[in-house]
């Protein structure tokens, strides 16, 4: 029998806790954290796959998967409800010989070898669901093929300072990877790994099996599998990516990435109709901007009611800002209410919160000169009682 095949399928690592997002990932996995008004972080990787012509995506979940499972559903919002292929949520499962959680990123893929083999792919694209970017993976795949690569890692040019916190690739003039260092104190290059890998499946499978057999391995791509490829001198290349890319793994970077959406130059190219970012939509009406409101330089999603002042902010679906409330420099996640007389400045407020009357959250940096300033964060589903003051940098 001739079996149906997919040239390239994608495996999306969505099991991470994202502990540096603190309260925002208390009960949900990082890829399910809301972003940019109507999206969740995972929408970017999923939409990139679809916009690159990859219609088979395994989504590996482990930490707090309920919300993510629900969100992915049958994959329809991303056009991933396919008869052959499509979106598949892949939690760890018990097997006759073993019974284990995903130990590391490489082990998570190893445990899903049977899933991958169902599609007999030539290539496997490994993604992590925690970055905000738009990328045509197909171009990277062409690069992988042209170079005769077995492992291609997408890299982006970063500052020397950032390079000390990331995985750094050193390459020769042909973009072949000659060295790889995780968080080097003295980086040899500024090409940082974006956590986007394309492997030739036959090669990766061999290495995953060997890695699993090694009791000393942490079963991690960055720590074990990629160094093993490098050690054996396998053909490895760095694919240079230019464009907007942001790791939203910390509260500060999550806030920054939201604020980047307000840039009229649209660095993320959100309005390009040929590479739309898809999201699961909830039926909410158009937004009402009341006569009492004052809105400027903001992103406001459908389903909101704005009666107060909103400036330099990103307001997600279903939020309400009452008359006399002031929201500035803030990210309001879905279905949150800010009541009369409250001021929310430079903050991230989680989903379904109620900020009661006359609450003060955060402050503008210029108002706390000399003091310790930072964004304030309120977790999901919190009610903040009237009159509460939440200081800059405070996490509730």
């Amino acid at each position: 029998m001739i079996e149906r095949k997919k040239e390239c399928i994608s495996m999306l690592l969505a099991g991470g806790q994202g502990s540096r997002l603190y309260v925002l990932t208390e009960n949900t996995a990082k890829p399910a954290v809301p972003f940019g008004g109507k999206y969740r972080i995972i929408d970017f990787s999923l939409s990139n796959c679809v916009n690159s012509g990859i219609d088979t995506v395994g989504i590996l979940t482990q930490y707090q998967p309920l919300e993510l499972n629900d969100y992915i559903g049958n994959g329809q919002p991303w056009d991933l409800n396919r008869n052959f292929g499509g979106a598949h949520v892949l939690p760890p499962y018990t097997k006759t010989t073993s019974n284990q959680w995903y130990k590391g990123t490489a082990n998570a893929i190893y445990q899903n070898i049977p899933f991958i083999e169902r599609y007999q792919p030539e290539y496997v694209l490994i993604l992590s669901g925690d970055h905000i970017y738009k990328m045509d993976y197909n171009k990277m795949l062409q690069f992988h093929k042209e170079k005769g690569s077995e492992c291609t890692i997408a890299v982006i040019n970063v500052s020397m300072e950032d390079a000390t916190r990331m995985g750094i690739m050193s390459t020769d003039e042909n973009q072949a990877i000659v060295d790889f260092e995780e968080k080097p104190a003295h980086p040899k290059s500024t090409q940082a790994s974006m956590g986007v890998y394309i492997f030739t499946w036959a090669a990766l499978k061999k290495y995953l099996i060997a890695d699993e057999a090694d009791p000393n391995s942490e079963n991690d791509f960055g720590k074990n599998v990629i160094p093993a490829f490098l050690r054996d001198g396998r053909p490895m290349y760095a694919y240079p990516f230019e464009g907007y890319w942001k790791d939203v793994g910390t509260l500060g970077s999550l806030w920054d990435a939201n604020m980047d959406l307000l840039d009229p130059k649209d660095p993320l190219d959100m309005r390009n109709p040929h590479s739309k970012i898809y999201a699961r939509n909830y039926a909410s009406p158009s937004t009402m901007i009341a006569p009492s409101s004052k809105v400027s330089n903001s992103f406001i999603t459908e389903g909101c009611r704005i009666k107060g002042t909103v400036e330099n902010s990103v307001i997600y679906t279903g939020c309400e800002v009452e008359e006399g409330a002031v929201v500035s420099g803030t990210v309001l996640m879905p279905n949150t209410i800010v009541r009369k007389g409250s001021t929310v400045s430079y903050a991230i407020v989680g989903e379904q919160c109620v900020i009661e009357e006359n609450v003060t959250i955060g402050a503008r940096p210029e108002d706390c000169l000399g003091e310790d300033w930072g964004i304030s964060v309120v977790g999901h589903k919190k009610t903040i009682p009237s009159g509460t003051v939440i200081k800059p940098k405070e996490i509730v």
Partner: protein, 372 residues
Amino acid sequence: MKMCGIIFSEMYSDELNAFTHDRNMAAIPYGGRYRLVDFALSNMVNSGITSVGVLAKQHYHSLMTHLGNTQEWDLNRKNGGLQILPPYASESLNQANRGKLDELRNALDFLREDTSPYVVMADAHVICNMDFRPVVESHINSGCDITVVATQSKMSNSNTYKSVIQVDGNMRVTSYALDHVPQPGDYCGMSIMVMDRQVLIDTVSEFTARGVYFLERDFIQSRFNTGDLSINIYPFTDPVLRVNDIESYFSSNMALLDEGISNALFRPDRPIYTRVNDEVPSHYGMDCNISGCIIADGCILDGNAEHSVIGRGVRIAKGATVKNCIIMQGSVIGEGASLENVIVDKWATITAGSQLKGLETAPVIIRKGVTV
């Protein structure tokens, strides 16, 4: 109790001909992100109806695109689901509207295949949020031949309603008038009716065979007048918006600025579904001045807008002013343009500096795709 639904998609299409030359009533954009049909359809879905026939006669391309595979309404089903029911290519094509019984002839197969005991019929032009389950319950309890959902006229107004019904102290119908002006206390039909499915099939077959085509006049009114038909009134007390001409279309859009109406229409427990477009959230510019507006996703707003309804993906450039307007999807208002009492259909371009002013009762209408 099981019920199926029928939606009439082109009642009053002729009165809104500025918008209906290439779409029918059901597909007219409304409230920034909706089409009129979304209300009747979502009400049916939220009432547990999983089998809906949409009667369409002409210009239903836009309606078909909007409904797509109907997954947004959860009607992409193996059993039942949504069927668009165009006319059979027969004598009824190219003929003026001969009435609902005639249209229902195209739904006979749909009705015969269904197994539910009751049919809910609704027009696309009536905007409300209604649970049809208590309506059907009331129909069953009344034992009447037909149940008509109606609003009670509170104060005297001079508007004509399709059906005006008078009742006695026991809510028994005493008169049924058509195209009439109601007195305070009278009930005004909402073009939402419930009948037994088999009775409807028999009625449609029998009446159309005899060349009688108007449901309200030839069936309900004449049978009622001869004492052969019992009517049950189901009073509806939540807000209702009826779109049957340009003026009511305009005011029904503006009514969404009223929080009471908006709360009644968009209830979280019974959402109104529509086609998803995956637009980016709207961007409100540094110097924009927006007040008293209903705004959909995907807009870039750098100018001024007041008391207006702004559709998906609309751009209002710097220095442009939009007042008392309805701007539909994808239209662009150029720099410094000034619009008052204007309805701009989809994908139109108002060039920089243009000045357009209509009257509240007679708004200027810019057709789809036109450049002004």
